[in-house]
Symmetry: C2
Subunit: 333 residues, 2 copies
DNA sequence: ACTCTCCGTGAAACCGCTTTCAGGCATTGT
DNA sequence: ACAATGCCTGAAAGCGGTTTCACGGAGAGT
């Protein structure tokens, strides 16, 4: 494998000159430049990324730590990051934390040792305090996606989950529903609590009481949604609509309703959250709140690049507003 | 950030000794070893990955080039790779080709320049010939997943698509169907052709003729499946079952059937291929052929590690056999 | 007691690139 | 015509590790 030395000898210039045409840092006379380019082409020379990184102390790579590489939920975040990172000629090195704090910590150390220029983290288990430490004391730009941590808000990209919960609930209220049940998410996750808050907020706006009997926990998973739905039906609380904290629990709820012989949306209306791929494929197709994962990933990447001084200081959206997409799972009571 | 020199000075040994305890290459006396470890802990020293890679010419990273990072289809491949790579303490750097040959080529060069120790590629657009060149002349171990290329079979991890097509078709035949339509995939992709071959093979086994009128191309996408289904219905060829070349076109077909007022499986039975997440969420849940993406990713990673001499020469499955999962979309005619 | 191994250790040479520094040459100003 | 100003260029010093090589001392063999 040819080195810069080989190129310099073939082109009869110094290594420094080769480096300069390679990086365009300093003007080089057209004659020498041409000779260098010719030599590069002839040898099929590719600069050694390690040597370059060692000399410059920059890796031209950014690290992404996500809960689950390529899950239905987080996959698009990674994709969003990749799109902008790759467009800048950088690379992405990935690692996943599987929503376990020990693994998340390990992966973080892992990526730091790799000396990526910046880190984008989407973690579920790590506490806000520790995340704040990561952002502030790790010695490289760290961007947090999917969490809103006030202490480091300028480094967070997140969806306004309270507004999302309110949006979903309000949509049902507008269709005339008055008794609306909620299948809550995993309550140790901020998102779940925020969506519940939004639900309460929308009820309050309409002078409706919040009733414990109308809330069951679905844990953000399909099976949990299924069981939560059965619980709610058993309580016989007379609701006509359900807001599920995410699409997966909505899918479970749908199954429970179908098995019970209740029709959606004729008997019960249903709204989900996230707009995963499956929302579109469920029957009836699920009305849900869009969480723009890909855009959030992009925004996180921009934020990181800006911190690195690679990107111009473009205005980056950090708080995303939820949007509701209407499909076929909601009707008037 | 402390360097190996700082450690060596604090521990009053040479850099060489520090390096030796770090890597365990050569025995070091217990006293010095302890001093070194103490110094490392005290300084919070982390070896510089670039310097190490430059000196050893190994990156401890493997590259993954996939069509779509984190799509429903390919996501699990990446996940499988990551699982084994991470378990060995290596890293993964990813890039995606978006099924366009120019991008695939660019990403390949990209990763090569990054000097990853090995490359795992899952590409759609690159020709078999070029892939063979990649595998043989790129100077580092390259493993191909999702394609069977005879010339480099020992470096390929793939599903037996012919057997898969036959399996799906045979399943319908066994349920008593005699006129079975096929929604084919994108015919420039080998997988699509192989599945069609399997379909023909199963028909032949049962002395049934292959009829052009029973085949429509769905291009592996939902909308294509939808239109293919409408085409087939229009031709009025009297089939009672459909084998779709993948789950996405099956989803489209399902939609077309529903809109036409035909019930699945009562009027028409349907089998898909891939076992994507959506197969489970469709209504009725789709009977389909499982493609074990995660296992294939793992196998590819093992193959790469074996080629690097990192893993023992474990026996790695390269050709995977399809398995059919029965759900609710098939019944007797 | 003397030589022969063998083992642990440090000095120093790389790995391949970037970047500083100083010098040479061609321009420009007067 | 001469000094001053720039612009290009090459030599060389890093960047932070690994690895070769030679050496000193301890243990083994005779």
């Amino acid at each position: 494998m040819p080195t810069i030395r080989d190129v310099s000898q073939l082109a009869k210039v110094s290594q420094a000159t080769v480096s300069r045409v390679l990086n365009g840092t300093v003007p080089v006379s057209p004659i020498k430049r041409a000779a260098v380019l010719e030599a590069i082409a002839q040898l099929g020379y590719q600069p050694n990324a390690f040597a370059r990184s060692l000399a410059t102390n920059r890796s031209r790579a950014i690290g992404a730590l996500v809960s689950e590489l390529s899950s239905a939920v987080y996959g698009d975040i990674v994709r969003g990051i990749e799109a902008v990172v790759e467009a800048r000629g950088l690379h992405m090195v990935v690692s996943s934390g599987h929503a376990r704090s020990d693994l998340e910590r390990r992966s973080f150390a892992f990526l730091k040792e790799r000396r990526t220029d910046a880190l984008i983290v989407q973690v579920d288990a790590t506490s806000e305090g520790e995340l704040a430490t990561w952002v502030r004391q790790s010695g490289l730009p760290v961007v947090v996606v999917g969490r809103h941590i006030p202490a480091i808000a300028e480094r967070c990209v997140y969806l306004d989950n309270v507004a999302g919960g309110a949006l979903a609930t309000r949509h049902l209220l507008e269709r005339g529903h008055r008794r609306i049940a909620h299948i809550a998410g995993l309550m140790r996750i901020t998102d779940a609590r925020d969506r519940l808050t939004g639900y309460r907020q929308a009820l309050a706006e309409n002078d409706l009481p919040f009733e414990d009997v109308l809330v069951a926990e679905g844990g953000f998973v399909e099976d949990g949604g299924y069981r939560a739905m059965l619980q709610l039906l058993e309580r016989d609380a007379g609701f006509t609509a359900v807001f599920a904290a995410n699409d997966q629990s909505a899918a479970g709820a749908l199954k429970a309703l179908r098995e019970t012989g209740l029709r959606v949306p004729d008997d019960i209306s249903l709204v989900g959250f996230d707009d995963l791929l499956i929302a579109h494929y469920l029957f009836p197709a699920l009305t849900t709140v869009i969480q723009p994962f890909a855009e959030m990933g992009q925004a996180a990447a921009w934020l990181a690049l800006t911190a690195l001084g690679i990107d111009d200081d473009k205005e980056v959206t950090r708080r995303f507003d939820p949007v509701l997409v209407e499909r076929d799972s909601v009707a008037a009571p």
